[in-house]
């Protein structure tokens, strides 16, 4: 549904995004991961026409997104509300949102307000940090926008509220499939919600793959150092740690069921690398570039 080709963006002499190529397919939930300053927010702002790019194409359903009213109606970017909204009452903010999004569902909005127990008569600035975030999340959910983007949706939310949001998202996705992009630092909490992850590292996309593929391609092996070394020879190594004669090595490679059995028969333990750890390995130092 969204095609990005050769996208570049810099602020002055500061290059933020370099030659981004990305295909976003319809009705999938994507996770956009990157370290601070990797350019996630800039990319999301470019996709939703909040910023002007230096060069490259962004097409929504085959058409240029800039000044494209159809693309604007179909997209909702949820990010912290601007300063100019702080004196507005929450219910007036919802009224403005209703006018902006073509697929807005007013009764779903009401339902979310009562589920999240939000007082809409208050002015935005009077709300707690968590409740301010919730105003944005309700707009994103109730917009039913074909492409809904949540930029760091969990800021200020406690664990109970975060899980309420994940549940609401999954429940609504069931009956109203759409494309969702979520940028987050809470990787392990959200990993299994994503169908695909996109990793942005040093201004470039260094990885885009299905979460299930990544799980089948990243393993910790631990056991006798000599045997582990022999097994990981010629495999891509992400991590290596020694504990006496035991060695723990993280590899990025497929292991067939037969290979796993063979490795286990040599008294080597195998476990999957959690997505958050994999992300750390892939975005620290220069490892990301060899992917």
């Amino acid at each position: 549904m969204l095609e990005i080709k050769g996208l570049n963006k810099s602020f002055g002499s500061n290059l933020v995004l370099k030659d981004i190529n990305l295909d976003i397919e319809g009705n999938k939930i994507y996770g956009l991961l990157g370290r601070n300053g990797a350019g996630k927010t800039t990319l999301l702002n470019l996709i939703s026409s909040q910023l002007i790019r230096n060069s490259g194409d962004i097409k929504y359903q085959g058409e240029e997104i800039f000044e494209n009213s159809k693309a604007i109606e179909d997209m909702c970017l949820v990010k912290p509300l601007p300063e100019s909204s702080k004196d507005k009452k929450v219910r007036d903010i919802f009224t403005m949102a209703r006018l902006m999004y073509k697929n807005w569902d007013e009764s779903y909005k009401e339902q979310l307000i009562s589920e999240f127990n939000l007082n809409t008569n208050k002015r935005l600035q009077k709300l707690s940090a968590g409740n301010k975030t919730i105003v944005g999340l309700i707009i994103g959910l109730a917009s039913r926008a074909k492409l809904t983007i949540f930029d760091e949706p969990t800021l200020g939310l406690d664990a109970a509220m975060r899980y309420m949001f994940y549940n609401s998202l999954l429940k609504d996705y069931e009956t109203n499939p759409r494309t969702v992009i979520i940028s987050t630092h809470l990787i392990d909490e959200l990993a299994n919600l994503f169908e695909e992850v996109i990793i942005l590292n040093s201004n470039m996309i260094t990885l885009k793959d299905e979460v299930s593929n990544l799980r089948e391609r990243s393993y910790f092996l631990s056991g006798n150092g000599d045997i582990v070394n022999e097994i990981v020879k010629n495999r891509k190594i992400l991590y290596r740690e020694e504990l006496g004669s035991t060695m723990i090595v993280g590899i990025y490679d497929n292991l067939s069921e037969n290979e796993k059995r063979e490795i286990r028969s040599r008294n080597i333990e195998i476990s999957t690398i959690p997505l958050q750890k994999l992300f750390v390995f892939l975005t620290e130092g220069t490892l990301g570039e060899v992917m």
Binding site: Y166, K171, S212, R215, Y219, R261, S271
Partner: protein
């Protein structure tokens, strides 16, 4: 329950959860299986992952689709799963157990004695 740290793929775990329910009789032949979306919501996983798990069982003939209604347990599913699990028990699990027994220097006779004591096998 799902084990997110297991080296087993989530969708394979979903397939096994359904198989276990069929083996235990919690889910009977010709009964409707929970849907992709129910699995997604309960385990908080992406519906595509859950779908992949259900589709494995459809491919193996353990579940079948009724258009517009959902997935149902095929006739003969239970014996099919039992057959499959027996094969994997003998080929994969048992060798692992025996390997651990060897590591712990348990003799063949001791092993047989314990199997008898525990009433293993039919």
């Amino acid at each position: 329950m799902l084990d997110l740290n297991s080296d087993k793929s989530i969708y394979i775990q979903i397939a096994e959860i359904i198989e276990n329910d069929i083996i235990l009789g919690n889910l009977k032949e010709e009964e409707q299986s929970p849907s992709t979306n129910e699995f997604a919501r309960v385990y908080q996983i992406n519906p595509a992952t859950a779908r992949k798990g259900l589709n494995i069982l459809v491919d193996e003939g353990i579940l079948y689709k009724k258009r517009g209604i959902g997935m149902f347990v095929s006739r003969g599913a239970r014996s099919e799963i039992v057959r499959k699990r027996q094969a994997s028990f003998l080929k994969e699990k048992l060798p692992e157990i025996l390997m651990e027994a060897n590591r712990l220097e348990i003799t063949f006779d001791e092993l047989i004695q314990h199997i008898k004591k525990l009433g293993g096998g039919r």
